[in-house]
Amino acid sequence: MSVVNQGYKGAVLEVHNLSSSYNRKPVLWDIDFRLEAAQLVGIVGPNGSGKTTLLRNIMGLMEADSGYVRLFGKNLNEVREKVSYVPQRESVDWQFPVSVREVVEMGRYRPKNLMKRLGAQDHDLVDQALEKVGMLEYAQRQIGQLSGGQQQRVFLARALAQNADLYLMDEPFVGVDAATEDAILKVLSDLRDQGKTVVIVHHDLQTAYQYFDSMVLLNTRLVAYGPRDKVFTRDYLQEAYGGRLTVLSKLSQVIASSEFPVREKGFKEKSGLGDAAD
């Protein structure tokens, strides 16, 4: 397996002292971290901890109160083509009259080609993206006739069609079954193995440890970030999730199982097989 060098050596994503609020209620407070390339990164935290808000700030979809963001060492506008954002699935109306293929084609839309037809190369990328997520045979289907898991795959395909170097995904595993979750994870691991960086908002602690190389643990403030073993400790998790009893009791399970290396190994083998097949 060769790691494709993306031509950039520094941090792929830097967030500097970022604070953000809704109606003057702070939602993110002084968030500061940096992420290196070629990793799967999990943004983890309880409901309402500001995970979605963080992604929206990174993508310039809302104004920060203070602080700033650098992507590949630059401003977002200079590197837009290298960044792909996948909003939460609930952010769109799935009754909208478009087909699966049309949605994935939107990943090829650019300010420059908005008044033109897509080219042959665009259509190839769309086909490849559909193929990778296993939705090629559903290409002509109307999106309203898809299951929740299939909708997530379509969103993922739209992001793949963008052919970016950094992917920011908001809860791509919500509402999917175990098989789809594995399939999505396989696609994301392949991206990582190609040297791309995938940042994923995720709320399931049980699987977070298995899936991600690094983690950003959030609860309005930044609790911890770094390699998963550094972040996934009882103290940090307790700090992020507070004294919620049910969560805490789950936590001990998670930590217990994370010290139990078989699960982790199982996953590594799975992704290893995937690479061999390529």
């Binding site: 979809l61 837009r80 792909s84 952010s91 909208f96 478009v98 839309y109």
Partner: protein, 282 residues
């Protein structure tokens, strides 16, 4: 069919078709009531343009209306995005306020403003054939017909140019913005077109019924298909058929043509709902 009937039906059909083209996106963006808001908000623009130009038939009215339609759109955005008011509250405040200014202006300048309220509310499509205009030796015919034809052409061209932009914006605005697409440009140009259609309808079907022409054919089409282009085409067809049906219904019962057009559009909707249920059962 008499030539008068032909003129009336064709004018109605062109207005209905333009409305259906834009209305499809209004319905998909869940902004049906924004059409209503704009149809009220154009009033002060019309009054001001009328006071300045002293004419009822002029491009000044169109410009004035489009400008106040845009002002309404701008106010709504301002209240919603900057003052962080809920969107429906922003819409409610903006259009009633602008409408109130229009009413105030009309009542202050009653002597000078010869704007028939009946006409504003209900339009006067029946008088289309009376208002003749000639372009040298090239063409002569009813002025509203000419204006509607130009408007339809404009709307069609606008839609062809901005189809991808509107589709992207309507489906997933955050995604569009993340691609670096300036969604505000598409939003405001779209609203300017809605304002333009609305003001044209002001003298043809009236300020209130235009909302129905914007929304009803598009919503009916949405019942039948889940593809965008077929939906838009179908909406146009329903709009045009409403013009035909409305004319003959009005003649049959000797009533208002504009009212009959919207009634027929509503009947198509009802019929579609019933048919869908029957088809689903069988």
């Amino acid at each position: 069919m008499s030539i008068e009937a032909f003129y009336i039906i064709l004018t109605g059909a062109l207005v209905a078709a333009s409305s259906a083209l834009l209305g499809s996106f209004l319905v998909l963006r869940r902004m049906a009531m924004l059409g209503d808001a704009i149809s009220h908000a154009v009033l002060p623009g019309i009054v001001v343009a009328f006071l300045l130009s002293g004419q009822r038939e002029s491009t000044a009215l169109l410009i004035g209306a489009a400008a106040s339609g845009l002002l309404a759109t701008f106010l709504i955005e301002l209240l919603h995005r900057k003052a962080r008011l809920q969107e429906d509250a922003s819409i409610g405040i903006s259009f009633t306020w602008l409408f109130a200014i229009g009413v105030l202006l009309i009542s202050t300048y009653t002597g000078q403003v010869d704007l028939d309220q009946e006409c504003v509310l209900y339009g006067e499509i029946a008088y289309v054939p009376l208002d003749q205009v000639s372009l040298g030796t090239i063409w002569s015919g009813p002025r509203p017909l000419l204006v509607s034809a130009i408007l339809f052409a404009l709307t069609l061209i606008y839609l062809l140019i901005s189809f991808k932009g509107l589709k992207l914006l309507s489906f997933n605005e955050d995604h569009a913005r993340s691609l670096g697409i300036r969604t505000q440009v598409w939003h405001f140009s779209f609203m300017a077109m809605v304002s333009l259609v609305t003001v044209l309808a002001f003298e043809i079907v009236g300020a209130i019924l235009i909302v129905a022409l914007l929304v009803v054919p598009a919503a009916t089409a949405f019942l039948w298909t889940r593809s965008l282009i077929p939906m838009i085409v179908l909406a146009v067809i329903f709009g045009v058929l409403s013009s035909f049906g409305g004319y003959y219904l009005a003649v049959g019962i000797n009533g208002s043509i504009a009212g009959a057009m919207v009634t027929v559009a509503g009947l198509f909707m009802l019929l579609s709902v019933v048919l869908m249920r029957v088809l689903k059962r069988s």
